[in-house]
């Protein structure tokens, strides 16, 4: 490892800390663009808050630039993704969550919840205790259906299971 690499490794990675302010600046500019044509009285509040937000973000960018110049920090995103060994699991969980939302209007709450819980727990647990996970997922999904749909009469997305139960009882 070269001296410059060792030097880089000692610096605190703060690139991830710039994501929120960057999003804030882009969103504020977009928001202010959408109110260009409305009367001033309707603009004033957003102008006030949006301007302060952009100013605060610029202050953070300047502070970061000064720290970079002094060699105290780096623009790495280690702070955001560490510990890196969990990144694959986290991405799988994110993918399963998107799939859950996508499927729930068709399969309904109970079946989708069962599948999501079983798959997510199996992946996170490294494929161990499959029988226990299947039983736990079934109990939780049916318990949720009994509590929310039957007891509270909440209108959760209905699928084959909910329709079958409705016809039976």
């Amino acid at each position: 490892m070269t001296d410059s690499q060792q030097e880089h490794g000692r610096r605190k990675p703060i690139g991830g800390e710039l994501i929120i302010p960057a999003v804030a600046v882009v969103f504020s500019i977009y928001y202010l663009w959408t109110i260009v044509d409305v009367p001033f009285t309707a603009q004033a509040s957003a102008l006030f808050v949006g301007t302060i937000l952009i100013f605060l973000c610029l202050a953070l960018f300047v502070r970061t630039a000064l720290a970079l110049r002094r060699g105290e920090v780096s623009l790495g995103i280690g702070g955001l993704i560490e510990p890196t060994s969990f990144v694959p699991r986290r991405l799988v969980l994110l993918g399963l969550t998107v799939a859950y939302i996508f499927v729930v209007p068709w399969l309904g709450f109970t079946l989708t919840t069962f599948l999501f819980l079983a798959l997510a727990m199996a992946v996170l647990n490294g494929g161990r205790s499959k029988g226990f996970i299947a039983a736990l997922s079934a109990v939780l999904a049916i318990g949720g259906w009994l509590l929310f749909v039957v007891a509270f009469e909440t209108r959760f997305p209905a699928g084959p299971f909910e329709m079958l139960m409705q016809r039976m009882f």
């Binding site: 703060i14 929120i20 969103f27 409305v38 509040s45 510990p83 969990f86 209007p105 509270f152």
Partner: protein, 507 residues
């Protein structure tokens, strides 16, 4: 509005006879309060056919008991898994969750229950006695004063995220901008909606709450096998009734802290629209500002848990005062109560206390009785509830995601809201990992629409003069209070640093 001991005693005895309504309502309230997306307001709406079928007094007892117990229930997941059941409990995890991680979950729950019950009970009695005067508070607060109160709320974020004030402010103001999304109330121009029709009514609060707290937390907790620290796991091995007794003792020894933070909740609750979230954060910030050990806040400090819990229960009785005395509901649940009373032909206002005291005083005595019954029913459960923290995160994370995502679906029944919760989850995850406070973003989302509404009103009254925000005496006093409130922690920290520097020099 004459008040006498006879009326009070008679009303109390009458309310106790409704124990068969109050006890099931407590149980239901604790459950719905603990589940994000199932607030007391939602539940009362879902059960409206049942409520309307009851006579007005029974209906009112049911609604008030449900309301008070759901407020307490919202603190349970906030303490145990860092997910507030409602926005009113958003300040509870600041010190409640670190206590849980240290294996003091049972003690934290006991402190939360005791301070909630004491704060709620005390403010209910004070509300009953001081109703004629407290109801006048709402008359003095107009749009200008409300703007200052809202900015006061946001400024607290800087204090709460004390490790980096700049990041705290960015998070809060980003939340405000997100809260501004939607069609404006006067000209109906869509703003910042990115073309989504589902955002024309603004950003719904429950998906924001679910995403920022629950989803982001689920993605964070999988990094460890348990949410408990090593010491926390050891502490949980030796669990018994001792932690409950210790929590009770710790709260009672800080009775004065419970009293004054609950009073903050009561006064803020009287202000229509301010709500439990602001009250909890104001109480937390004030508690830290006047503490001798402010550096302990955020690390599992008992006073940091007492303050938001007693304040958000103080709000509960406060929101009923403007409803019953001047007919202006102080919050969503109070507004639904007004609808139910109107359905039964009951007109709220000062004459209600003379013509139908059981309806005028009834909500307050019901609240008092609910709190008394609640302490005996819930306190023994703290020991068993705290066991949830030993569940492995590989099981806990998927459960949190699936059950809170459907909670985001419940209020509007849009699948879009579940995607929105996921987007907030990603924002929350990035915020947590990079030192931005998720509670600050949430408070901004809550206050954004309110701030804009008052800003618009003030601008229209002043015909576009922005200096209107400095036109009111009360408003100007509040501006000064805001500056003082921001300066006190900085001044205290400076004095402490100076003292520390002097100490080694003297040695």
């Amino acid at each position: 509005m004459e008040f006498s001991i006879e009326i009070f005693a008679e009303q109390f005895a009458r309310t106790f006879s409704y124990w068969w309504v109050i006890l099931p309502s407590i149980l239901l309230g604790l459950i719905v309060g603990a589940i994000p997306g199932f607030s007391a307001a939602n539940t009362i709406i879902i059960l409206l056919p049942l409520t309307l079928a009851m006579d007005p007094e029974t209906g009112l007892v049911f609604m008030v008991a449900l309301y008070a117990s759901s407020r307490l229930g919202a603190g349970i997941p906030a303490i145990l898994v860092n997910i507030p059941g409602t926005a009113g409990a958003a300040a509870t995890p600041l010190d409640g969750y670190p206590m849980t991680q240290q294996g003091r979950g049972q003690q934290a729950l006991t402190i939360s229950f005791t301070s909630s019950v004491l704060g709620g009970l005390l403010t209910t009695i004070i509300a009953l006695l001081a109703m004629p005067w407290l109801s006048q508070v709402a008359y003095y607060l107009h749009s200008v004063e409300m703007i200052v109160i809202m900015i006061f709320g946001i400024s607290l974020i800087a204090s709460i995220a004390a490790r980096d004030t700049l990041k705290g402010l960015i998070a809060g103001f980003l939340g405000l901008m997100i809260g501004y999304i939607g069609a404006d109330v006067i000209y109906e121009t869509p703003r910042g909606t990115m073309g989504f029709l589902e955002l024309y009514d603004g950003v719904p609060l429950i998906p924001a709450l679910v995403g920022l707290f629950a989803i982001s937390e689920a993605f964070s907790v999988i990094e460890g096998d348990s949410i408990l620290t090593k010491l926390g796991r050891e502490a949980m091995q030796t669990g018994g009734w001792g932690a409950t007794i210790e929590g009770l003792r710790e709260t009672l020894s800080r009775w004065w802290h419970v009293v004054w933070t609950a009073m903050i909740g009561l006064v803020i609750g009287v202000v229509p629209g301010a709500g439990a979230a602001i009250a909890a954060f104001v109480a937390y910030q004030q508690s830290r500002a006047f503490s001798k050990t402010p550096e302990k806040y955020g690390t599992g400090h008992i006073e940091g848990l007492i303050a938001p819990e007693s304040a958000n229960n103080g709000v509960t009785s406060g929101t009923l005062i403007p409803l019953l005395v001047i007919g202006v509901p102080g919050g969503a649940t109070a507004a639904i109560m007004a609808v139910v009373l109107q359905y039964h032909g009951v007109t709220v206002g000062p004459e209600l206390f003379a013509t139908r005291p059981e309806l005028g005083y009834g909500p307050f005595t019901t609240m008092a009785v609910t709190y008394i019954l609640m302490i005996f029913t819930i306190l023994p459960l703290a020991r068993y509830m705290s066991r949830v923290t030993v569940v492995r995160t590989v099981f806990m994370a998927p459960i949190i995601i699936s059950f809170t995502l459907v909670g985001a679906f419940v209020p509007r029944e849009y699948v879009f809201d579940m995607y929105l919760a996921l987007v907030f989850g990603v924002i929350g995850y990035v915020a947590r990992k990079t030192g931005y406070h998720v509670a600050a973003i949430l408070i901004g989302v809550i206050l954004g629409p309110l701030l804009e509404q008052y800003f618009l009103r003030a601008m229209r009254i002043s015909q576009g003069d922005v200096l209107v925000v400095f036109s009111s005496t009360i408003g100007n006093i509040l501006w000064v209070a805001l500056v003082v409130s921001l300066c006190v922690p900085a001044f205290t920290a400076w004095r402490r640093r100076a003292a520390q520097e002097r100490t080694p020099a003297a040695q």
